[in-house]
Amino acid sequence: MAEEQVHHNIEARLEMDHDALLEHLRDYNPETGGWMKYMHVEKEDWWWDFGAYVHIGFLIFWCLWCMFVDGYVTRAQFQLDHLITYAWIASSAIYSYAVVIKDFAGGKGTGG
């Protein structure tokens, strides 16, 4: 491909709308039922997905570390394990209350 043509292609891609570029990259064809669109991180949902992947990554890391690096837990690890557990249940409770209060206070999303 001629250098001029390459430049032209790059400029064309840079000028594309960001959303259109995302759509282009997804390469979704509804007739074929391609699943990538649904598995792909949505622009507005990125932080939910990101949080989820961090969450899963942490769990996998924690479990593998405990299993393969150090089979038997020490007293310090046991205490850390409990600390993580109790902090996690507390933050889960806070989040669950917050989203309900937001729904109910706003009068939306309660099913009518």
Binding site: G33, Y38, A52, W62, W88, A93, V99, I101, G109
Partner: protein
């Protein structure tokens, strides 16, 4: 703490009934007052109006996924497998929820008007697969309800000495009471309230252990007890074999072999329990949009995980560290009231009582009854919805009107409740234990998981491959467990779970590769049963 050999309960039997009736009254009144305009048509009764937001869906998923097992079986894993138990219980049971986020988002986008997943399968695959999935989800929902009723009744018998069979009847009556009023919306609304109440109760119990009240030993305080069990080799479950005792003698080991086996059973069993369960699909169907339902399943997953983990850490490990022996009677450190540790699955309520006395008892009873009612009501409602939508409307009477479907839905709620009660009584009579029900569930219905995933995400999926993969997988897996492993609940059930899923995949995947059947998912956009009193 050891007291006497006589079976003793800390509360009189009538208190169990009072707690249940009080909760039933509260939820029914709230639903009648706030949701009396909901569920007036067959579609809104089954689909909840399709306009419920993130907050309620998030909490509803959590409440529906908190079973009596989440509180009692998870603690049992801590008591039986030590520190690894809670993590493996939580991990295995959390995995299905993110998968449901992708599945429900996909199906809502493909077919916005579907009311049940067998209905989606009807238009995506064919009639035979729809009927098969309808039967599977009816069995799954029924099985889950049986576990809930049994687990809840065990707990109430433990604390109050109430009659097991009467408690089952009361619970079934409550399940039917408020969902009969307003259908899916009522179920999701009550779930939300119960989720918030359960978080408070779980917070009370875990905080008590964290701060070292009663039998609670403070942050990491159970370490010495678990270490002693590794040295002294106590026989905490006298009726069980050496293999069960050995797993309790390895409580500080992350690679506790029996615990890892349980992880496999738990993962496979829970995949079937969620992916083939209309109750979880209905949370996606009732959500206001695909984006929110996706978010709700994800957030519910990471807010649900710490529930069994914290209960195991606080209660199950406590029972093991304190060396509590099944069959013995113990005194509360606060009021000297005695309670008998009747079976290993009841380690959580025992520890709750030993940690906080009557307050711990109340917190645990409210949590388990809340979990039982929220999930049980959802499961029975889903069973009735599938019968009305997929068996009656979809197969037997395609011309049925909305009014007829609504009537069938309500009638089926009562019929299913009675049928499940009879099965619960029978299983109790033959000694099929609560932990046995939990561990065996994957053997019978997780063969549908791989074929179902293929149908939703792969356009070339072969219809017959899905159908026969599901059936043959279940037959071979359950056949192995029943005839070769002789109902073994240790490694026999582990292999049976692996076989069930592997066989279904080995049949469905090569069949699809050899004989692909291309499908246009866009054709689903306008598909679904017609609920405007005309023909399908």
């Amino acid at each position: 703490m050891l007291f006497a050999a006589e079976v003793t309960t800390p509360l009189p039997g009538w208190t169990g009934y009072a707690i249940m009736f009080a909760q039933a009254l509260i939820y029914t009144l709230m639903v009648v007052l706030l949701g009396r305009t909901k569920g007036k048509t067959a579609d809104s009764f089954i689909a909840g109006g399709r306009n419920i937001g993130h907050g309620m869906i998030h909490n509803s998923i959590i409440a529906t996924w908190i079973w009596a097992a989440t509180l009692m079986m998870s603690s049992w894993t801590g008591y039986s497998y030590g520190v690894a138990g809670g993590w493996w219980y939580g991990l295995g049971a959390t995995i299905p929820l993110p998968l449901m986020a992708y599945i429900c988002r996909r199906t809502r986008l493909d077919m916005p008007e579907h009311r049940s997943y067998p209905e989606y399968i009807r238009f995506r695959l064919d009639r035979k697969n729809q009927i098969l999935q309808a039967i599977i989800t009816i069995i799954v929902c029924g099985w889950v309800t049986l576990m809930l009723v049994t687990g809840g009744a065990i707990m109430l018998v433990q604390f109050t000495g109430a009659n097991f069979y009467y408690m089952c009847i009361v619970m079934m009556a409550i399940f039917v009471s408020y969902v009969a009023v307003a259908g899916l919306w009522a179920s999701i609304f009550a779930d939300t309230i119960m989720s918030l109440v359960m978080f408070i109760c779980i917070g009370i119990l875990t905080s008590a252990v964290f701060w070292g009240f009663g039998a609670g030993a403070g942050l990491g305080g159970y370490y010495d007890g678990l270490f002693n069990a590794m040295i002294a080799h106590p026989e905490l479950q006298p009726g069980e074999g050496v293999a069960v005792w050995k797993s309790q003698w390895d409580g500080l080991n992350w690679v506790n072999a029996a615990g890892l086996g349980f992880l496999i059973v738990n993962t496979v069993g829970n995949l079937g329990a969620v992916l083939c369960n209309q109750t979880y699909w209905s949370r996606g169907i009732g959500s206001d949009n695909p984006r929110n339902l996706f978010r709700s399943f994800w957030t519910a997953a990471w807010c649900w995980y710490p529930v069994p983990l914290s209960m195991t850490t606080a209660m199950g490990l406590g029972g093991l560290a304190k060396g509590m022996v099944v069959g013995e009677t113990y005194l509360s450190p606060y009021n000297g009231v005695a309670s008998t540790f009747t079976e290993s699955a009841a380690v959580a309520p025992m520890m709750a009582f030993m940690t906080l006395g009557y307050i711990g008892l109340a917190a645990f009873v409210i949590t388990v009854t809340g979990a039982t009612i929220s999930t049980g009501a959802g499961e029975i409602l889903s069973t009735a919805a599938v019968v009305a939508n997929d068996i009656y409307k979809g197969w037997l009477r395609p011309n049925a009107t909305g009014k007829q479907i609504l009537a069938i839905n309500r009638i089926m709620l009562y019929i299913i409740a009675v049928a499940l009660l009879l099965i619960a009584f029978w299983w109790r009579a033959i000694g099929f234990s609560f932990s046995g029900m939990y561990q065996a569930m994957g053997v019978f219905f997780s063969s549908a998981v791989v074929p179902l995933w293929m149908a939703i995400f792969h356009r070339n999926t072969n219809r017959s491959g899905v159908f026969w993969g599901t059936i043959i997988g279940a037959i071979i897996g359950s056949g192995y467990w029943i005839f070769i492993a002789d109902f073994d609940m240790l490694w026999g059930v582990v292999w049976a779970n692996i076989i069930v899923m592997a066989v279904s995949a080995i049949i469905a995947i090569p069949w699809t590769l050899a004989k692909p059947e291309p499908f246009n998912f866009q054709s689903l956009n306008e598909a679904g049963y017609d609920y405007s009193d005309t023909h399908v």
